[in-house]
């Protein structure tokens, strides 16, 4: 396997690896022959793409369907101001090629789905999960288990991160052993709602890159069977023991999931999950007109207080974060015509559903939230 040659240029480039006996020529040849599929080229994917390319992993695949946005650059360091608006795969590929022209980078500008996952993963030795949602995480897990490939996992939220290596063929658990089922939508805040410290994905993604390099070179002790937890605020690392569950539906002794399933459905995500219709919605332009009229509605903001400091709609009557709404219903008057808003319209949609079930009838959800208020009504309100 390790008879692949390194050129003199490559030997100069990788000399700090080569003079370490743990890597040496043999390890560097393994890296050159190795291949990694990176699912997601965002926060976690950025340091992964950079370090794996720099280390000389011979073939790196990138899967992402998103384009670079200004708000990504606070943490997604593989991209740059010059590539805003360009596909993330192409943006990362150009940067990786500049960092190390000796590695081959294949881009897949597509969403990984049950239909294409096995084909995408098949050519690669190591799979890295740098995604941001439950359906893709379960899909990546199941496809990796079915193909017998190690899945290097990392996940982040605000100041906190998790990392491990799922590899049932090495005796460890898979993601489903750890979490048999995902949380129902809405119960756990998403990253877009929760925010993330910009350097956090740098720490967790770099741990994932370290594990991928160890898996390819066969050195050290991997995170198989251990969950590494990192708390940036306390600056504390801890580890927990993970075990393979013999009853796991995917990697257990009698698996019941033997082909890929519908992961949106598995995660409780349905295209028309909302009970709200167009009669429950109001556009920012319509709201602006109403606010000027005699029929001024009561304006309820369901965001968090720190978001109000960033941007607000003038004339807001009340702030109740959506998570406190159930307990604070008595502060609202069912008789009032009310418009509910948040940043993008998702949380306020949940709030309207909750208020309706509590007996409120004269309700409207502001479509597109404060983001669309900024683009359609008042550009002086910052978008965040």
């Amino acid at each position: 396997m390790s008879n692949i040659a390194l050129s003199n240029e490559e030997i100069r480039r990788y000399s700090r690896h080569l003079i370490m006996p743990e890597v040496g020529m043999a390890g560097q040849r393994r890296l050159k022959q190795g291949s990694v599929l990176l699912i997601g080229s965002g926060g976690l994917g950025s340091p992964l793409a950079l370090y794996l390319a720099a280390a000389g992993v011979g073939h790196i695949g990138l899967v992402d369907f998103d384009v670079v946005d200004e708000s990504n650059l606070q943490r997604q360091i593989v991209h740059g101001t010059a590539t805003v608006g360009k596909p993330k795969t192409a943006s990362a590929q150009a940067r990786m090629h500049d960092l190390n022209p000796f590695v081959e980078v294949t881009t897949y500008e597509t969403q990984i789905t049950s239909a294409n996952a096995l084909e995408l993963l098949q050519p690669y030795d190591v799979i890295i999960d740098g995604t941001d949602n439950f359906p893709t995480r379960y899909l990546t897990n199941d496809a990796s288990v079915l193909l017998g490939k190690p899945n290097v996992y990392g996940s982040i939220f605000r100041f906190e991160g998790q990392a491990t290596v799922f590899s049932p063929k090495d005796g460890g658990p898979c993601y489903r052993c750890l979490y048999p089922e995902p949380p129902p939508p809405g119960l756990v805040p998403s990253c877009a709602e929760g925010g993330v410290l910009g350097v956090l994905p740098g720490v967790i993604g770099t741990i994932q890159a370290t594990e991928a390099i160890k898996l390819i070179t066969g050195i050290g002790e991997t995170l198989v069977g251990r969950l590494m937890l990192y708390d940036a605020l306390a600056m504390r690392f801890r580890e927990l023991k993970l075990r393979r569950n013999p009853a796991c539906p995917v990697c257990g002794d009698h698996p019941t999931v033997t082909t890929l399933i519908d992961y949106d459905q598995f995660c409780g995500i349905f295209p028309e999950s909302s009970t709200l219709g167009s009669q429950d919605a109001i556009t920012p332009v319509e709201l602006a007109a109403l606010l000027q009229s005699d029929e001024r509605p009561y304006l309820l903001d369901v965001r968090n207080p720190y978001e109000v400091e960033i941007a607000t709609i003038p004339g807001t009557d009340k702030l109740i974060p959506v998570d406190q709404l159930q307990e604070r219903l008595n502060e609202l008057d069912t008789a009032l015509e009310m418009v509910v808003y948040c940043r993008s319209g998702v949380r306020s949609g949940r709030a309207v559903e909750l208020l309706k079930s509590a007996g409120f009838r004269k309700l409207k959800n502001l479509t597109g939230g404060i983001l669309r208020w900024s683009s359609d009504v008042d550009a002086s309100v910052p978008r965040y």
Binding site: D64, Q76, R158, Y179, P180, E181, P182, V188
Partner: protein
């Protein structure tokens, strides 16, 4: 037995922002119910309608998953740390 529970970032908003809570309890089930008594909104995030721990919330005593100990009946020693570790999906596109 005074035991420390660590609250994950994602659930701190339902526990008055606290990162840790110290409570008296002899086993894990009693500890979690004591926690929910102090912070009722945590309840629906930890327990399903059937009253059982939700399958996307794991609880560890020290570094061991209670599913591989005695579940909610797992006894606690004074000074022990119990961690609540929910599934988080973030990676940020």
């Amino acid at each position: 037995m005074a035991v420390t529970i660590t609250i994950p970032t994602a659930l701190r908003q339902y526990a008055a922002g606290k990162a840790t809570v110290v409570l008296e309890a002899d086993n894990v089930g009693a500890l979690l119910r004591g926690l929910v008594e102090q912070h009722p909104t945590l309840g629906k995030h930890l327990f399903g309608e059937d009253g059982r721990l939700r399958s996307f919330v794991n609880v560890y005593v020290g570094d061991e998953d209670i599913r591989y100990l005695a579940g909610e009946a797992t006894p606690l020693q004074a000074g022990e740390t119990v961690s609540i570790i929910p599934a988080i999906a973030g990676g940020t596109r």
